[in-house]
């Protein structure tokens, strides 16, 4: 706390800074997020959010400079609601790991385990309106030239998809405490069934309920957790938002819109008509990606990390695999 106070005082040009309302947000699995109010000697109060690189996060290695640059580009190049950036600190001295600070955004975050949250979704019309914004913002991201965000579009989207299969398989392979036969089967299926939209865009990588905030009027006022952002097929983000993990048995993707409403709106905004084959391929790949992260969590626990939530992810892997199994079964039915 003292280290943060001293660091902030230097940044704000103040003799001293008090920190109030400090809160660590435990929802995330990777970056550590803190919100607090900095109080200056003259009484001015500044709401801030700080994201610190984890020492041994589930998605390592991290690229904090890349994260910061993407955030800055999203602010300047898109209409996506992003908090204003303040400072990037690469020196590990002040807080042990690199971090960056941005303005705190006030609002409410709907989450998948509260599908009937009355604050977020007072009625069906409000839910639909949020869903349409959710799609529009995704379309805004996907319609932005990757070069303007500091990325390079893939010259061969199909080869990029294959590289992504290999990437997530390697992550699973390197961290499996025990082998997961279904994932081996899924990888074989993926290699035999690569179907892409042919587009190459910047994907958020974790676009779903739980990763956006609402203001008091039902407007999305922040999209966060960009650490998995990368260049890929736009259908990857769509398939991720549609995963059963984020909607249980509800037909509403991310508890927001049903499939036809989601895809229709997306097509209106981007001109891309997503086919069932594309959606299935990316859904299976998204399950592989989710599984690899769960496997890594179990690996971290097995090798000494004390956080029991990691062990819980190890057995919650079964829910991910159950969804994957359904998808592969459905694919087999189509072939028959």
């Amino acid at each position: 706390m003292d280290a943060l106070r001293r660091w902030l005082a230097a940044r704000l040009g103040a003799a001293d800074v008090a920190i109030e309302d400090l809160r660590r947000h435990v929802e995330g699995w990777s970056w550590e997020t803190y919100t607090f109010t900095a109080v200056l000697p003259d009484g001015e109060r500044i709401g801030l959010a700080l994201r610190r690189e984890p020492e041994d996060g589930l998605l390592a290695p991290y690229d904090i400079e890349g994260q910061y640059a993407l955030h800055r580009a999203l602010v300047s190049e898109t209409a996506l609601p992003m908090p204003r950036l303040r400072w990037l600190e690469l020196d590990r001295g002040p807080l042990g790991m690199p971090f960056y600070v941005m303005d705190r955004v006030e609002g409410h975050v709907p989450v998948q385990w509260k599908p009937d949250d009355p604050v977020a979704f007072p009625d069906d019309a409000a839910r639909t309106a949020i869903g349409l914004q959710f799609v529009d913002l995704l379309a805004e991201l996907h319609e932005t030239d990757p070069a303007r965000l500091g990325y390079e579009a893939a010259a061969d989207p199909e080869a990029a998809a294959v590289a992504e299969i290999d990437h997530w398989y390697e992550r699973y392979d390197a961290h499996a405490v025990r082998r997961v036969p279904l994932l081996e089967q899924a990888v074989a299926w993926l290699h035999a069934n690569v179907v892409t939209s042919g587009r190459s865009v910047v994907c958020h990588g974790d676009y779903r309920i739980g990763n956006f905030m609402l203001d008091g009027n039902g407007r999305i006022n922040a999209v966060f957790d960009w650490e998995l952002a990368h260049v890929s097929d736009p259908v990857e983000d769509i398939a991720w938002a549609a995963l059963g993990l984020f909607r249980g048995r509800s037909p509403l993707w991310s508890h927001l819109l049903d499939e036809s409403a989601f895809l229709e709106r997306y097509e209106q905004r981007t001109g891309l008509a997503v086919t069932p084959e594309q959606l299935r391929f990316w859904t299976v790949l998204c399950y592989l990606k989710a599984s690899a992260t769960h496997v890594r969590a179990a690996h971290a626990f097995e090798h000494g990390r004390p956080d029991l939530r990691l062990a819980a992810m190890g057995h919650q892997l079964q829910y991910v695999l159950d969804g994957l199994r359904r998808e592969l079964r459905a694919a087999r039915e189509v072939v028959r």
Binding site: A176, V177, R178, R179, V180, P181, L182, L183, E184, Q185, V187, A188, H294, V295, A298, H299, F301, E302, P306, D307, L308, A311, G314, H315, L317, Q318, Y319, L321, D322, R325, R329, R332
Partner: protein, 119 residues
């Protein structure tokens, strides 16, 4: 289940004793957490996986894969790992029979979870 039984029990005990208990100001609750940790540590050497429950598909695996899938004598932890490794290798180039076995493996884990949650 990804984690080993030893690590799960030791990890839960350690978290209760080293992280939860010191953070509790109520002496009664602190004693509960400390005692729960001690009980888990006492139970740990007496508990093993019940292979019949966690791998009812293992017999079928042996009929598909032969001796390679035979259980490791007297060591359920090693047997589970060995079975999964054999099944995983088969799954990469799997036929219908292997696909059914993989399906059974996932379904069994899922049903065990469902039972513990009373669903």
């Amino acid at each position: 289940m990804q984690n080993s039984l030893d690590r799960l029990l030791a990890g839960i005990a350690a978290t209760l004793a080293d992280e939860v208990a010191p953070a509790l100001s109520d002496p009664y609750l602190r004693a509960q957490a400390t005692t729960a940790a001690e009980l888990l540590r006492t139970l740990a050497p007496r508990i093993t996986w019940d292979l019949d429950a966690v791998q009812p598909w293992a017999g079928e695996l042996v009929s598909v894969a032969g001796d390679a899938a035979l259980p490791v004598d007297g060591d359920p932890e090693a047997s589970m790992a060995a079975h999964l490794t054999v099944l995983a290798e088969l799954a990469r180039a799997g036929d219908e029979r292997v696909a059914a076995l993989v399906d059974a493996q996932v379904e069994n884990e899922r049903s065990l979870l469902r039972k513990t949650r009373g669903k």
